[in-house]
C-alpha cells in the first residue's frame, strides 16, 4: 500500500512538473538580465507573428553551461566577446546569413572591426551593446586629475577604493597597469599582476559588482572600478562623480547576438536580430537600458545632444584605440586566471 501510494505521489509530481512544458513557441531567446526594453518583445511578436520565449541569464558562464550540456535549446543568445570566441571554437554557433539580416548595415564599421578580435570574419556575431571599463571617482574626495590605474593602487586612498569583483576584469586591470596584455597567458606576467593585487587588498574597502553604484552615489568611497554604462547612471545621480578610461588602456567589451548551431527556427532567429538592429528599436533599447549601442543609425536618432556626444557612452577613437577586447583563454588559461584570483581573494 505504502509503495503504491508513493508511486502515485511521485508520478503525479512528475505530471505536474511536465504540464508546464505543453505550450510551444516559435523562437527561444536567451539574454542577459535587464538587457532589453520588454515592450520590444511584444512589438516583435505582433509584427512578425513569431511567438517568443524569453529567458535571462546572469553570467556568461551560467549561459554557457546550459547550452553546452544541452539542458536547454535556445535559438538566439547574447554572449560577451570572449564567450563568443569560446563557443565558435567548440562549434556551438552557426554562421549568420547576412542576406536575412539587412539591418546589420546600421552597426558601425568600427564595431565589426573590433569584433574581429573574437570573431575573425564577423561570420557568427553582431554587436548588441558595448562599453569600456574604467575608474569612477568622486571629484570632492580626490584633488588631483586621475588618468591612470595607479590611483587604485595608491596608498593615499587607503580604505577609499572599491575594487571590482570579477576574475577577468580584476586581473585585466592589473595586467594593463603593468603594461601587459589583458589576455596574457605568460605565467610570470600573471604572477606579477597577482602580487600587485595582493598588495592592493590592504587598500581596498572591498570587492563588489552591483553594490558599487549605491556606494559611489552615497559618497562611501573616493574611487571605484566599474563599467561605462554603470558610470553614466551613477553620474546622473551624483554629479560629483566622474569617469575616466585610464591612459594605460583598459578593456572594451561587447555583447553580441549569435545563433546556436542547434537552433530550431533559424528564420525566426534572423528576424529577431534584424528587428533589434532596426534604428528605432535599438534607440528604444538604448534609452531604456543605458548601455552604449553600436547602432550608428540609432545613435544619429538620439535627440538629446548631450547624450549623443557623451564621452562615457560614446568615447572617441583616441580612447577606444588604447582598449583591448577579452579573448578566450582556453581551458588551461582559464584555470590559471581562476587560481590567481582565488589567491588574491584568500590573501
Amino acid at each position: 500500500m505504502k509503495r503504491l501510494l508513493s508511486l502515485v505521489m511521485i508520478s503525479s509530481l512528475l505530471v505536474l512538473s511536465l504540464a508546464g512544458c505543453g505550450q510551444s513557441y516559435d523562437l527561444y531567446v536567451f539574454n542577459w538580465g535587464q538587457y532589453i526594453d520588454k515592450s520590444i518583445i511584444k512589438e516583435f511578436e505582433e509584427e512578425t507573428g513569431y511567438k517568443v520565449l524569453y529567458d535571462e541569464f546572469e553570467e556568461n558562464e551560467d549561459m554557457y553551461a546550459k547550452i553546452k550540456s544541452g539542458a536547454a535549446i535556445y535559438d538566439v543568445i547574447c554572449p560577451s566577446d570572449y564567450m563568443v570566441e569560446q563557443m565558435i571554437q567548440e562549434g556551438l554557433l552557426q554562421k549568420l546569413n547576412y542576406d536575412n539580416i539587412p539591418n546589420a548595415k546600421n552597426i558601425g564599421a568600427q564595431y565589426f572591426e573590433q569584433a574581429k578580435a573574437y570573431d575573425p570574419g564577423n561570420e557568427y556575431s553582431i554587436p548588441n551593446y558595448w562599453g569600456t571599463v574604467g575608474i569612477i571617482y568622486n571629484k570632492n574626495m580626490v584633488n588631483e586629475p586621475i588618468d591612470s590605474w595607479s590611483a587604485i593602487f595608491d596608498e593615499k586612498y587607503k580604505g577609499n577604493i572599491l575594487m571590482i569583483n570579477s576574475i577577468r576584469d580584476g586581473l585585466g586591470i592589473a595586467l594593463k597597469y603593468l603594461g601587459y596584455s589583458l589576455n596574457s597567458q605568460n605565467e610570470k606576467e600573471i604572477k606579477e599582476a597577482t602580487d600587485l593585487l595582493k598588495k592592493q587588498k590592504a587598500l581596498v574597502q572591498g570587492y563588489f559588482v552591483d553594490q558599487i553604484r549605491d556606494k559611489m552615489i552615497g559618497n562611501e568611497a573616493a574611487i571605484a572600478v566599474n563599467y561605462s554604462g554603470e558610470a553614466k547612471m551613477m553620474i546622473d545621480e551624483n554629479p560629483d562623480l566622474a569617469y575616466v578610461v585610464p591612459k594605460e588602456g583598459s578593456n572594451i567589451w561587447s555583447d553580441n547576438w549569435v545563433i546556436t548551431s542547434n537552433a530550431v527556427n533559424v528564420e525566426a532567429a534572423e528576424a529577431w536580430i534584424n528587428f533589434l538592429c532596426r534604428p528605432d528599436i535599438a534607440l528604444k533599447n538604448f534609452e531604456e537600458i543605458g548601455y552604449s549601442t553600436p547602432n550608428e543609425a540609432a545613435h544619429a536618432l538620439i535627440e538629446d545632444e548631450e547624450t549623443r556626444n557623451n564621452e562615457i557612452y560614446f568615447p572617441g577613437e583616441e580612447i577606444t584605440k588604447r582598449c583591448e577586447s577579452f579573448s578566450y583563454l582556453g581551458v588551461e588559461g582559464n584555470k590559471m586566471y581562476q587560481k590567481a584570483w582565488t589567491e588574491v581573494k584568500a590573501y
Binding site: K2, S6, I10, G206, Y207, K215, Q338, K345
Partner: protein, 273 residues
Amino acid sequence: MNNKKRFFAVPYVVWMTAFIIIPLLIVVYYGLTNVDGKFTMENILAMFTPINMKALVYSLLLSFISTVICLLLAYPLAMILRNADLKSSSFIIFIFILPMWMNFLLRTISWQTLLENNGVLNTILSALHLPKQHIINTPYAIVLGMVYNFLPFMVLPIYNTLVKIDDNVINAARDLGANSYQTFSKITWPLSLPGVISGITMVFVPSLTTFVISDLLGGGKVHLIGNVIEQEFKFKYDWNMGSGLSLVLMVFVLISMAFVTKYDKDMEGTNVW
C-alpha cells in the same frame, strides 16, 4: 491505526527523498568523481591546500567567537525570561522572534546600511561628536552579522530547558544551604546543559557554513570556507570540487550533531522548533 499513520507519512517521505536524500547523494557522487565521472579523492583532499585551510580555520575561528558571544548574551536573557511572569516573558520572546519574520537577506542588507562609513550609526556618532567607527567590510561586521542573525537560535533552546526546571529543585538546594553561586553551578547549569548544547550547535553550524553574511558585510575581503565553496560553483563551474569541499564541511556538521544527541537525549532543547 498503523496504516493510517503511514498514510500521513507519505508526503513527508516523498519530500525527504526528493529534496534531501537524492540531492545529498548527488553531492556525494560529484564530490567523489572528477569531470569525466571517474572516482577520485582529489576534491576531498583539496581542503588541505593552504588557501582552503586558511579559509576553514578562519571560519572556525569566527563562528567560535560568534557562538561564545551568543551564549554570553543568551544565557542571562533566558534566566531573566524564566524568572519573569508568563505574560511579560512571552511578550519579550515575541519581540525577539519578530525580526525573524523578515527575510534573512533583507536584515543583513540593512546592517550594511547601518554600518556603512556614512551610514546611520556613523551619522549618529558624528552628530554626538564621537569618533566614527569603521566596522563594515571587516571581520567584526561579520561576527556582528552572525550574532544578530543566530542569537534567537541560542536563546530559545536555553529558555526552553530553563523553564522546565522545577522550582522545588532550586528551593531544595537553597534549603540545604547552597548559596546562589552553588545553586547555579550545581543545579541550574547542569540541568540547562541540553539547551546550551543545542543552542551552540544551532549557532555554530550556520555560522561555519555561511557565505552570504561574509559577502554582504565583509565586502568580499574576508574569505570564509562558505565563500570558497560558493566560488567553486558560481565562478569556476567546478561542481565536483565544490561538492568535495562540502562533504568535508559536512564532517563538522555531523560532529556537532553527535554532540547534541549525546547531551540532549530527550531532544528537550530542540523541541521548540
